[in-house]
């Protein structure tokens, strides 16, 4: 025992090196469990504050573009409203009269305070947190399409996985015929992702619109993902490999909306019952 202690003292640098490396690598490989400790991700108070200050300075540079986008979206929404036959100017009645209005979803506006596109796992940090009603696993969209999903939330900031993150995939479908598959980013080009699991007999053409399928409780159905840029038929497979040009420009992103699905607890409960059932059998 004494000789062991003497050995450890003599080689304390090496022992410490092994200890610290083990700790660091444990963090790398048990990524999710470590990140649940909210102070170990960018949504914590210090990093959130730093990114907010940074954003308050650099945010001015993109204002022209943001204003243009907001005006465009306003125009689009106004057009949608005016074209509804039973539209009246009373806001209370809009909610009652619109047949397609689905009160299941609620949108919380937020601002991106940090973002990246060139790493294999890209994350975004938002300036809203649990105080504003944001919870983990809510969807994030912008006016031009799907952006990501919320990962961890602190009191006033939240960290989300961007669509440019190989750690998750979304369920997407072809708008014209409803066939759905899963969309995964390949880790190289921030403008394109790959849609797989679309069977070969389906009619696919360049320029087709790809949107969310609504099969997950994160995103509503019909949110734009992108357009088909090219496709190939890999040898020996029954599925296309479709390149989708993403509609969101991730390099130039500032204002987003976080989607709350109010029916989510109910859906999850049903899922849980199904899972338990399967395990019981």
């Amino acid at each position: 025992m004494r000789s062991l202690i003497r050995y450890l003292l003599k080689n304390h640098a090496f022992v410490l090196f092994i200890l610290l490396e083990t700790l660091a690598l444990a963090m790398v490989f048990n990524y999710n469990s470590f990140q649940k400790a909210t102070y170990l991700n960018s949504a914590n108070r210090v990093t959130g504050k730093v990114y907010t200050i940074y954003q308050s300075v650099t945010g001015y540079f993109g204002l022209t573009k943001i204003n243009r986008e907001l005006a465009q979206e306003n125009a689009r929404l106004r057009m949608l409203l005016e074209n509804k036959p039973d539209f009246t100017d009373n806001t209370d009645i809009i909610f009652l009269n619109l047949p397609a209005f689905d009160s299941v979803y609620r949108f919380i506006p937020a601002q991106i305070i940090s973002n990246s596109v060139n790493r294999p796992f890209n994350y975004i940090t938002l300036n809203k947190g649990s105080r504003h009603g944001i919870k983990p696993d809510m969807g994030i969209i912008s006016s031009s399409g799907i952006v990501g999903v919320v990962g961890q939330v602190s009191e006033s900031y939240s960290m989300g996985l961007s669509l440019l993150n190989q750690r998750w995939s979304i369920s997407a479908k072809l708008k014209k015929n409803g066939y759905y598959g899963s969309l995964i980013w390949q880790g190289t080009d921030y403008r394109t992702a790959i849609l797989s699991e679309i069977p070969l007999h389906v009619d696919v053409a360049i320029g087709d619109t790809v949107e969310t399928s609504g099969y997950s409780s994160i995103f509503p159905e019909g949110i734009l993902v992108g357009t088909i840029n090219g496709f190939s038929e890999p040898d020996g497979e029954n599925y296309y490999s479709i390149q989708v040009k993403l509609s969101v420009d991730f390099k130039n992103l500032s204002h987003v909306e976080v989607i709350e699905n109010r029916a989510r607890p109910e859906i999850e409960e049903l899922d849980k019952i199904l899972r338990d059932d399967r395990q019981a059998n």
């Binding site: 640098a13 660091a24 690598l25 790398v28 940090s114 294999p120």
Partner: protein, 167 residues
């Protein structure tokens, strides 16, 4: 002693902020992503005890990790270069009189500092990028990224020595 503590403490904070707010926001191109915060580990005095080097390296790596949501990879790479630092210093300074208490550019010859920086930066980037991509399937693409980013980091670090950190 207190003066030193403040100086290195300030350097720690400034380097982390420059890293996450400037170099990681301004993406030069898809391939280049310089990491210059390891300048902190490079510039610690030669007589710094090994355990302190590694603990400080771990802390600065972890700080960058928290900002970038890449838990563990910067910490692992920085601890490694902190561990090999005494070895690198003793192997590239061939004569005893070459050694200086401070491994900065001002106190040493340009070539000495350049090779010191090059070895440390390349080792750090090598571990960092392969740990991040964690696959050898894009071996050469990743290697190209490492090379280009290393060159850029070395350039920025040497340049920073000319401009600031001169005391």
């Amino acid at each position: 002693m207190i003066g030193r503590l403040i100086k290195y403490g300030l350097m720690f904070v400034v380097l982390v902020l420059i890293q996450v707010l400037v170099l990681n926001q301004v993406q030069v191109s898809g391939y280049i992503n310089p990491f210059i915060y390891i300048l902190f580990v490079l510039l610690l005095p030669v007589s710094t005890p090994k355990y302190l080097l590694m603990v400080l390296g771990f802390l600065i790596g972890l700080s960058v990790d928290i900002f970038l949501n890449s838990l563990g990879i910067h910490a692992a790479a920085t601890v490694f270069i902190a561990y090999i630092r005494p070895l690198v210093i003793s192997s590239i300074s061939n004569r005893e009189e070459d050694r200086n208490e401070y491994p900065g550019l001002r106190q040493n010859k340009f070539l000495w500092f350049l090779s010191y920086t090059a070895i440390m930066v390349f080792t750090h980037h090598f571990i960092l990028f392969y740990l991040e991509y964690f696959t050898f399937s894009h071996f050469f693409t990743t290697f190209l990224r490492i090379l280009l980013s290393s060159v850029f980091s070395i350039f920025v670090i040497v340049l920073s020595q000319f401009l600031i950190f001169r005391e």
